[in-house]
């Protein structure tokens, strides 16, 4: 039993099931991120934890207490909303203490709690202002203050950063992470932004079509995606997925792809899992992250299996620190991430280095990773 248990939870509207058999156990102090495209069910799940939506079947427990049917205010949770949901008619101070007031906390205690939170978030000078007079970042802090002051068991965040501009979003992200490290609170955080998910979480649940596709640490999700959806959703630019054929050449497994001119290229696979054997001679999907394809000088020195690949460069996109180089492999665009000073030029041939340690294979039918 964890701190927050989501046991076989299903959500249905009439006969339409939008969330299927979700099963997640969150330990105390964990930072769980629910990530997925819009409509995947992540916000529905969060609202069910909050008690804002009913549970069709299954159980949600916090500290071993079943929460089904319990009013949101009795779950000892706090929520930070996408729009911040600050009460426009109240001052910042009143906003922060409204929940305590509703729960009958004496005024003196409320003021003390408010002062502590204001100090923690450095918003002491804003307490008498109305939300309308605040900037986006300040509203965000107040919304967090309102959640923190209740000292809840679980914090729920519903896309809290998506209304901020790009730079502020990065700053606030760091701030939330610092806060979590400092206070050690349990957090469930919903976002559609996979970078937020990677940077903030201790564990990620990738959701799609009402199913949890994969639950794991950021590293597991990134390096060992359970299926094609997780592989392509997490990471930017997305993982390259190439049609290829698994062949046994001279006793070693090779993934065979085609270059821009239609010539076969065989990439040797080392330490192949046993399951690969069954796919010998069959079509598989080869997944390679852009950063695993570099120029030979930029290749990872710790990698054991670097394979050479020569191909025509179609487009280069310098992005400051890196340069993204696009080529055609197996009839599709394939992106490589290189050092800024790699000498790749459009239309010219270039020697790529592929780190096959990081390559993964997917079954083309089930789209699951082959392990």
């Amino acid at each position: 039993m964890g701190f927050l248990d989501i046991n076989n939870v299903t959500k249905a509207y009439g006969s339409v099931e939008v969330l299927h058999q979700v099963d997640i156990s969150v330990e105390e102090g964990e930072f769980l991120v629910l990530v997925g495209p819009s409509g995947c069910g992540k916000s529905t799940l969060l609202n069910m934890i909050a008690g804002l939506e009913s549970i069709s079947s299954g159980e949600i427990c916090i500290k071993d207490r079943v929460m089904n049917g319990v009013h949101p205010s009795r779950r000892n949770i706090a929520m930070v909303f996408q729009s911040y949901a600050l009460y426009p008619n109240m001052t910042v101070g009143q906003n922060i203490t409204f929940g305590l007031e509703m729960h009958g906390t004496p005024k003196a205690d409320r003021d003390k709690a408010m002062a502590d939170v204001a100090k923690l978030l450095q918003i002491e000078n804003l307490l008498t202002r109305k939300p309308g007079q605040l900037s986006g970042g300040q509203r965000q802090r107040v919304a967090m203050g309102r959640a923190l002051v209740r000292n809840p068991d679980v914090f729920l965040f519903d896309e809290p950063l998506s209304n901020l501009d790009a730079k502020l979003r990065v700053d606030m992200r760091t701030e939330i992470k610092k806060l979590h490290q400092k206070l050690g609170t349990t957090i469930v955080y919903v976002t559609h932004d996979q970078i937020e998910a990677m940077t903030l979480s201790t564990r990620i649940a990738v959701m799609y079509n009402g199913y949890v596709q994969q639950l794991g640490t950021p590293k597991e999700i990134y390096d060992s995606p359970a299926n094609l959806f997780v592989a392509t959703f997490m990471g930017s630019p997305a993982m390259n997925v190439l049609q290829s054929r698994l062949e046994d050449r001279n006793g070693a497994l090779h993934a065979v792809i085609r270059d821009a001119s239609g010539q076969d290229i065989a990439l040797r696979i080392e330490n192949a899992p046993a399951a690969y054997a069954a796919y010998t001679g069959r079509e598989v999907m080869l997944g390679i992250r852009p950063e695993a394809i570099t120029d030979p000088e930029g290749a990872d020195r710790n990698a054991r299996n670097i394979q050479a690949l020569t191909n025509i460069v179609s487009v280069t996109e310098p992005a400051g620190a890196d340069t993204f180089v696009t080529m055609t492999l197996s009839g599709k665009d394939c992106i490589a991430r290189m050092r800024a000073d790699a000498e790749a030029h459009p239309g010219q041939s270039f020697d790529f280095a592929v780190n096959m340690d990081k390559a993964v294979l997917f079954d083309p039918k089930t789209e699951d990773r082959i392990i």
Binding site: R65, G69, V70, H71, R74
Partner: protein, 299 residues
Amino acid sequence: MATTTDTGVDFRTRLQTWLPKLVLSPSLAIMLVFVYGFIAFTVYLSFTDSRMLPSYEWVGWQNYDRLFRIREWNIALTNLAVFATLYIAICTVIGLMLAILLDQKIRGEGMLRPIFLYPMALSFIVTGTAWKWMLDPAIGLENTMHLWGWESFAFGWIKDREMAIYTIVIAAVWQSSGFVMAMFLAGLRGIDNEILKAAQMDGASNFQLYRRIILPQLRPAFLSAFVILSHLAIKSYDLVIALTGGGPGNATALPATFMYSYTFTRNQMGIGAASAVIMLMTIAAIMVPYLYAELREKK
């Protein structure tokens, strides 16, 4: 320990889910009784031989049969057709014209707009009183023209059985056209200026701009204006009472005045109820599809 808090919590949650329905239910009950119950009752009466007091003797379609043979009712229907057509058409034309003119970056728009719109705030009784006198040949407009030396000027519509209905149109247009103007102006202000600029780049003249780009986008405003004006026209009662009293004779009778006089003055409640049902049907034929479409869109 856990169980006690759980039951307490349950009660509170259940109360919170019932409260909204509880709060809404008195209104719903009032509506069902005072609107839909009353409608049902009136419909029922229209099939009875009620006279001064409601009677419950069923007579079938007899009241409707008689209603359409009463000369005054047929006059009222003809009057309504004439009045509603002219009222809606003239209000729309004037309202649209004023809105378009006001939309030309007019200095003093802030002054003009309230002037065009203020009659809407007045009671029809006040409007009727004012126009009754303006249109009275002995002391109003005709008299003034005569005093100014235009001896041949004659404007005696209000005393003329043939023309009196048009005086109702004049007063009603005076009262409502500013409102139509406001609706069209809101529509015009909602049109994206960039579309107009693009059309001008494409070489559209001002006239083409209005005909091809702007007016088609005002469709919702046209529809709303039509619906509102037509239901006002069917309900028109006060203005006729104040302006002409339904006269001369019953030359300006409308269904609303007919219903009132048959029900409460002539003690023909069954016929009065039948006429009210016809009025409701006419309005429902316009409002129900409109409201249905509006509510569906919001989903």
